[in-house]
Each structure stands twice: as structure tokens, then as C-alpha cells.
């Protein structure tokens, strides 16, 4: 009875508003959860989700049904997250004013850090590609699916995961001994 994600997405790409709404209702939580895993911060995740919502209609218009909808959606979220990170980086290096901005941001991180849990904190310390991979697999994707989203080989996914865990372990040991 219920239409598949792919069917809904194709209909939405053709301008079917009801299909678009249903699709969004179905996947909003997933987008948000993934955004949270990528950013490790609630506010960032909310903002990222908003960016995605704003841009989703025009992106969906180009959805061609070649990939599974969820795979496609993960890519969209991932790309948007990359875009945000790059923007933050552009800002922080721009000039003196932004130096201040970065300092303030770091101060804020230090301040709110106490309220954040260890895992998200630790994930934020991971290099971006490891974090992306870990976030995807924590989101119940198989290695093969994660590889598809990231457009890398399954072997690379497994390798990155073991790297990510090595990092987390090192991080934890450092804290334990501290």
C-alpha cells in the first residue's frame, strides 16, 4: 500500500507536493540523527538540517532514481555537512576579525563541553573522513551501503572504521591515564 521511497522521490521530483511532504515526514528524523552524528552538536545538527530542508526541493528535482533514496539522501546530508565545515574553515582563516570569531567559538566549545557526552566529543576529534564513515555505520548502514554513499570501496570503509576505533581507543587511554 505504502509507496516506496524511490517512487515518492520520483513523484516529488515531478512536482508532486504530497509525495514530497510524505517523504520529508518519513525521513526527517533520520536526516537529523545523521546530521547530529556528523557534527556532534545539537545546534549544528539543527542548522544543518535546516540547510538541507531549504535546498532539498531543488536537489530532489535532479533525483533520477539511480540510487536508493536513502543512499542518495545520506549523500546529500554528507555533502551539506562538508559544505558547512568548509565554510567554517574559510571563515576562521579569513582575517583578524575571524580569528576572534574562531577564538570565541573555541571558548564556547570549551564552555559547553562539560555538558556534552564523551562519545560525541570524541567523534568530533576524529578526522572528517573517519567521522563520516563512523557516523554512517553507526546509523545502521552496512559497510557495503556506507561504501556506496561515500563512493569508496568496502575495503576502505572497513579500514577507516578500524582507524576510527584506534583513534577512539587512543583517546580514551589518554583520558584514563590523565
Amino acid at each position: 500500500m505504502a509507496r516506496s521511497d524511490e517512487a515518492l522521490a520520483m513523484a516529488a521530483a515531478q512536482g508532486d507536493r504530497a509525495a514530497f511532504s510524505e517523504l520529508l515526514e518519513r525521513h526527517y528524523s533520520r536526516v537529523f540523527a545523521f546530521a547530529f552524528r556528523l557534527t556532534g552538536r545539537w545546534t549544528e545538527a539543527e542548522d544543518l538540517t535546516q540547510d538541507i530542508c531549504a535546498a532539498l526541493p531543488s536537489k530532489l528535482a535532479r533525483y533520477e532514481g539511480r540510487a536508493r533514496f536513502t543512499t542518495w539522501l545520506y549523500r546529500v546530508v554528507l555533502n551539506a555537512a562538508h559544505d558547512r565545515r568548509r565554510r567554517a574553515e574559510t571563515h576562521s582563516r579569513a582575517a583578524d576579525g575571524w580569528g576572534d570569531w574562531e577564538l570565541a567559538r573555541q571558548a564556547e566549545i570549551a564552555e559547553t563541553g562539560a555538558r556534552l557526552d564523551w562519545l560525541t566529543q570524541a567523534m568530533r576529534a576524529l578526522p572528517p573522513d573517519l567521522r563520516d564513515t563512523l557516523a554512517l555505520t553507526l546509523d545502521d548502514l552496512t559497510h557495503a551501503e556506507a561504501a556506496d554513499v561515500l563512493d569508496i570501496s568496502e575495503g576502505t570503509v572497513s579500514w577507516r572504521l578500524s582507524e576510527a576505533r584506534k583513534h577512539l581507543r587512543a583517546l580514551k587511554e589518554k583520558e584514563d591515564t590523565a
Binding site: 545546534t43 530542508c53 532539498l56 582575517a95 576524529l126 587512543a170
Partner: protein
């Protein structure tokens, strides 16, 4: 491998760490997506006949943005659950997280160089969000086509440059005056951080109007004087540049009516940066020294719990006001609609006969007032405009500045939008030009020029793209337009191609009606409409535009700035005229420049030239 990092445990921990999305934001975001979806399907947007000439575009909907920090309670609750869950496996948690180990991160990024390369070469699935190299070792050069902040949450109005008009076809140009200066502030901020501003951020009329000019005030009872002048266009010897300038009367400052100010201050989390809330506090404290004992001030915040943090207080109680300002801190969730309503209610309560009330909204552009529909917000402000309360919008900070919304709100609310990036700018807007900023002397000022087809073949209005009015709006007093403050000046520039000029770009029509034999050598006829504040009926000023009004150095400087603006946006009319010419022209016509604004503009042009030349 130790057991405490078992993957399934990690997964469970992550699942419980993931907060539920904020319900209000969920609804907003979905509404935003649906709105954009509708826009994409080509459904018409509610066009506002005044000035808001933006095309329906993807990021229009971003007006509905909400960047609140979620309710602290909810955050604390979810963190607490995680904490309980993790204490078992991670005893270190009790000591709080250690500083992020940067060394590990950097060495690691070298380790993963090879697979990372895979990722970087990932085909771009979505053309509009290109994947940039994330590696720290990536070369950090700027591309020649500098688009400083692609896919930024900054939103600028979309408007194409005004096209060339053929006098025989459309002899009439109608637009609203504009005293905003926000665009110049944004351009300055961009250039000074080493990036050319995005084209949409450049509004040439706001650049030209940023500078004080030495126009004489009105000698009769009119609220403003008109100054016409023309000169050979710097970038085209075969056309002429026509200036239409209005200079507002500067009433005796000693006689000004008491002022009621409501500061509506955005204290959402994003305002924490040093160039936002702290600068805002300094700016307002500068302004306080300009107020009189009979003026009064109230403060309303629109993030989180606070609401009205200072009841109407006479400006003489400086320490009370300063203390209230000092107590402001960023954080909390947005309760913006309430904030705006409270600000207006406060202003109305303070209002007494003969006094001027104004709400001054200070924000970094994360301006979401909780109204689900941004057009409803504008309607709300427009309805409050009828009550005589004015609205000014001051922008702070960059990164998610919603310039488009700021401009739209200020225009709707009979106010001025300015962008404050430094204390100097705060001084200019809030101290030096306080009277002009706060005391309107004419509302809904519209300009209509009818060009004479026997003298002028083609014309082009430089700037004012977002201020265009329909020809019939000129005589319709219901149509809103810009207002002019005490001592304000407004400058508009037209580039005119005289009949018979080799610069003419269009051929005369073979079957068109030939213009009557030169009945007059007038360039055209200027009509102005304005309302005295508080009145419903507009008044008309008419004057012919005669050739031969001599140019002055103010016009030449304005021309250099207009050229600067075109160099930043669209150089199609400039021929070979370039940065060097603009700088030379501005330098030669710097005039007294007692505040150094013009010198600063020349410095920006020089920097802009270098940025534009950068490979």
C-alpha cells in the same frame, strides 16, 4: 583490542546520545522545505508592489530560519541519560572531557592520506554543493572567480542590474528613495577580510548614499531640497550622468521632539561572537550619550526567557540602562514573535503626543520571529507602521547575515537598514547621524522621472534595483516607499544617452512614431511625492531637468563610487574604464572629507583592485 570499545556498545551509546529533533524546528524546517518546493514549482510569490522586487528564489524561504539553541532542559536531560549509560564503561567521564587531543588528530590525517584521496575525488553528485578538499594539507589559494561564501546561510536580495531603457518606449522611471547603507558596510567588511563581496550584496545606491554630501538644505518650507546636476559620464564620453539629489531639512536639533526608543535585541546563541553582542552593547552605549533626559529607552530581547529586560526608563538614568545592557548575554531558545510584539507594545505604551517612537532591531540576521510565514511578518510590521512606530534594523556580524530580510523589514517598517561591523560604523550611524537616523521628516518619498524623447534617446538608472515602483504607484498614496530623515541626503544617478550620440546602443524604429520636432531641450521632468510624517495625503514637487546644471565634486565622487559598484558587479557599461580610473576620480574629488569616509572608500577601491587582479 579492549572490550570497552565494542562496536555494538558504541552504536547503542550513539543512539542514546542522539537527541530527538526539536519539534518546533522540525515543523519550521518542513514548512521551509515545502515552501521552497512550492517556489520551485513556479507558484507565484506574494509580490509586494514597493521596492521588494526580488524574484522568487530558492533561498527566499530562508527568511524563516530559526537558529535557536534548543531548550537547555531538553539538552541537559538527554545528556544525563547518556552520562548514566556511559559511566559504566567510561569512568573518565566523571572528570569531564579532556581537551581535544590535537596531536593525535593531525598525525592521523597523514596516516589516512591515501584513502582520503579517494574521498576527495568523489564525483560531485550535487552540482550546487561541491565537495572541497577537507585535508589540512590542501592548498589554500583562492580561486579567481571568488565567491566568498558559497551556499552560505547569508541571504541577499536577488535583483538584476537595471537595464538600458529606450526613452521612446518607456519614457518614465519610477522608484522609491533609499537611505539604507547596509550594503556598503557589507562590501567593506568583505574586502577587508580579503574577499570580493558577492554580487548580490552590492547595491550601488546604498554605496553612493553612504557618503555625506554638501548639498544645501531647503530654503522654503519643503522638507527637502532638490539638487540636479549633470556631467559627461566618466566611463563613456558620449553619454551624460545625471544626478538627482534630495537634501532633507535639518530642523533645529534643540527643538526635536522627545524620543522613545525600544531596543529589540537578538540574544540568541549566535550573537555571542565579539563582533555581535559585545559590539552592540558598545554601540548602544555610545548612542546613549546623545540622548536627552526627556527621551526614554526600553530594552526587549528576543531570545529565550527574558522578554522585556528594561522597562521604559528616562535616558537620564544612564547607569540603569547601561547595567541592563551589560546584563545581556547570548543564549537560550528563540521566542521571537513575542519579542517583536512586545517591542511594539512597549513602544506604543511609551508613545505620547508629539513624540517619535522607534523600535531598533539589532540582530545577526538569524531573524526568526516565530511567525510561520515571512510574509505574515512583513504584514505585521506594515500594520504597526500605521500606528506611527518606526523600525530600524541594525545588522551585526557575518556568516549568516540575512541581508535580504533585514532590508525587507526596514523597508516595510519605515526604517533604515545599516550594517555595523566596527565601532566606527556604530558612531557614524548612531551618533553622528543620530538625528537623521531617528527623526523622519518625510515619509513615502517617491521619485518619478519622465525623459524627453527629443533630447534623450536612452537612459539607465544606476542601482535602485530593489526599489523599483510601477509607474502607476507614483500617485497611489497607499503604496509604501522610503522615508527621509532629518538632514539625510539621497542621491540617484542616471546615465543618459542624448539623441544623436554615437553611444546609442539601440537603433531607432523605422515604424516608430518620430518624436515631435525638438520642442524643448529639457532632459526630462522630475516629480517627487512625499508625505509629511503622520499624514495620509502625499504632496507633489515638480521641476524640469534642464541641461547645463554644472557638475560639482560631490557628483564626481558619487560617479566614482557608482563606477566602483559596477566594477564589483557588472562592467558591461564601463567600456575600458577600470579600477585605476575609479580611484583617480575619487581621489581627485575627495573634498573636505572631515570624517574620512571618502578616504576609506579609496582605500577599499585599491584593495578591491588588488583582490580582483589576484590570479
Amino acid at each position: 583490542m579492549s572490550d570497552d570499545l565494542d562496536f555494538d556498545d558504541l552504536k547503542k551509546a550513539m543512539q542514546s546520545a542522539t537527541p530527538a529533533p526539536d519539534a518546533a524546528r522540525r515543523a519550521e524546517n518542513i514548512a521551509l522545505a515545502e515552501k521552497n518546493f512550492d517556489h520551485l514549482q513556479g507558484s507565484p510569490s506574494g509580490a509586494r508592489p514597493t521596492s521588494d522586487a526580488r524574484k522568487p528564489g530558492l533561498f527566499r524561504g530562508v527568511i524563516a530560519m530559526l537558529k535557536s539553541i534548543p531548550a537547555k532542559g531538553a539538552l541537559a536531560a538527554s545528556t544525563a541519560i547518556v552520562a548514566v549509560g556511559l559511566v559504566l564503561v567510561l569512568p573518565a567521564l566523571q572528570d569531564g572531557p579532556a581537551p581535544l587531543p590535537r596531536t593525535i588528530t593531525t598525525t592521523a590525517s597523514e596516516d589516512v592520506e591515501a584513502p582520503a584521496a579517494d574521498m576527495m575525488s568523489e564525483p560531485v553528485i550535487e552540482p550546487s554543493i561541491a565537495i572541497a578538499p577537507m585535508s589540512k594539507s590542501a592548498p589554500r589559494h583562492f580561486a579567481p572567480e571568488i565567491r566568498p561564501m558559497p551556499q552560505n546561510t547569508e541571504a541577499f536580495p536577488e535583483a538584476d542590474p537595471n537595464p538600458l531603457k529606450v526613452t521612446a518606449e518607456t519614457p518614465v522611471s519610477t522608484f522609491s528613495i533609499d537611505v539604507d547603507t547596509a550594503s556598503y558596510g557589507i562590501i567593506r567588511n568583505s574586502i577587508e577580510t580579503g574577499l570580493l563581496p558577492p554580487k548580490e550584496a552590492v547595491r550601488i545606491e546604498e554605496m553612493v548614499n553612504y557618503f555625506p554630501y554638501t548639498y544645501a538644505g531647503p530654503s522654503n518650507d519643503a522638507p527637502f531640497a532638490t539638487h540636479l546636476a549633470s556631467m559627461v559620464t566618466p566611463w563613456n564620453p558620449d553619454t551624460r550622468l545625471l544626478r538627482i539629489a534630495l537634501q532633507g531639512r535639518l530642523p533645529d536639533i534643540a527643538d526635536r521632539p522627545p524620543l522613545n526608543l525600544v531596543f529589540l535585541i537578538d540574544t540568541s546563541g549566535s550573537m555571542e561572537a565579539p563582533n555581535k553582542l559585545p559590539l552592540l552593547k558598545q554601540s548602544f552605549s555610545l548612542m546613549l550619550s546623545e540622548l536627552r533626559p526627556e527621551d526614554s529607552v526600553a530594552i526587549v530581547t528576543y531570545a529565550g526567557s527574558a522578554g522585556r529586560v528594561l522597562d521604559a526608563t528616562p535616558a537620564s538614568e544612564r547607569s540603569t540602562i547601561l547595567a541592563a545592557l551589560d546584563h545581556l548575554s547570548a543564549g537560550g531558545s528563540t521566542a521571537g514573535q513575542a519579542g517583536l510584539q512586545q517591542a511594539y507594545a512597549t513602544a506604543e505604551a511609551m508613545q505620547e503626543k508629539g513624540e517619535v517612537s522607534r523600535v531598533i532591531l539589532a540582530t545577526d540576521g538569524d531573524f526568526n520571529v516565530g511567525l510561520s510565514d515571512p510574509d505574515a511578518l512583513k504584514d505585521y510590521i506594515a500594520s504597526k507602521r500605521q500606528t506611527g512606530t518606526y523600525l530600524s534594523v541594525l545588522g551585526f556580524g557575518r556568516g549568516n547575515l540575512d541581508d535580504a530580510t533585514m532590508q525587507a523589514l526596514a523597508q516595510t517598517g519605515n526604517g533604515q537598514a545599516a550594517y555595523i561591523d566596527t565601532l566606527h560604523e556604530a558612531q557614524k550611524v548612531l551618533v553622528d547621524q543620530l538625528t537623521g537616523t531617528l527623526f523622519p521628516i518625510a515619509d513615502d518619498v517617491k521619485i518619478q522621472v519622465e525623459f524627453n524623447p527629443t533630447a534623450i534617446a536612452e537612459y539607465r538608472l544606476i542601482g535602485y534595483e530593489t526599489r523599483q515602483l510601477n509607474r502607476e504607484d507614483f500617485n497611489n498614496d497607499k503604496v509604501d516607499a522610503g522615508e527621509i530623515g532629518a538632514g539625510h541626503s539621497v542621491t540617484a544617478l542616471f546615465e543618459l544617452t542624448p539623441v544623436g550620440s554615437p553611444a546609442r546602443k539601440t537603433d531607432p524604429l523605422r515604424y516608430g512614431t518620430p518624436p515631435e520636432a525638438a520642442a524643448s531641450d529639457e532632459f526630462g521632468f522630475l516629480k517627487l511625492r512625499y508625505k509629511t510624517p503622520g499624514t495620509e495625503q502625499s504632496q507633489l514637487i515638480e521641476t524640469p531637468i534642464l541641461p547645463g546644471a554644472p557638475a560639482d565634486s560631490d557628483l564626481r565622487f558619487a560617479a566614482a563610487i557608482a563606477g566602483f559598484g559596477q566594477l564589483l558587479t557588472d562592467t558591461r557599461y564601463l567600456n575600458d574604464w577600470g579600477w585605476d580610473d575609479a580611484i583617480a576620480l575619487a581621489t581627485a574629488n575627495r573634498g573636505d572629507d572631515s570624517f574620512g569616509y571618502r578616504a576609506e572608500a579609496i582605500r577599499l577601491m585599491r584593495l578591491g583592485q588588488s583582490l580582483a587582479a589576484r590570479p
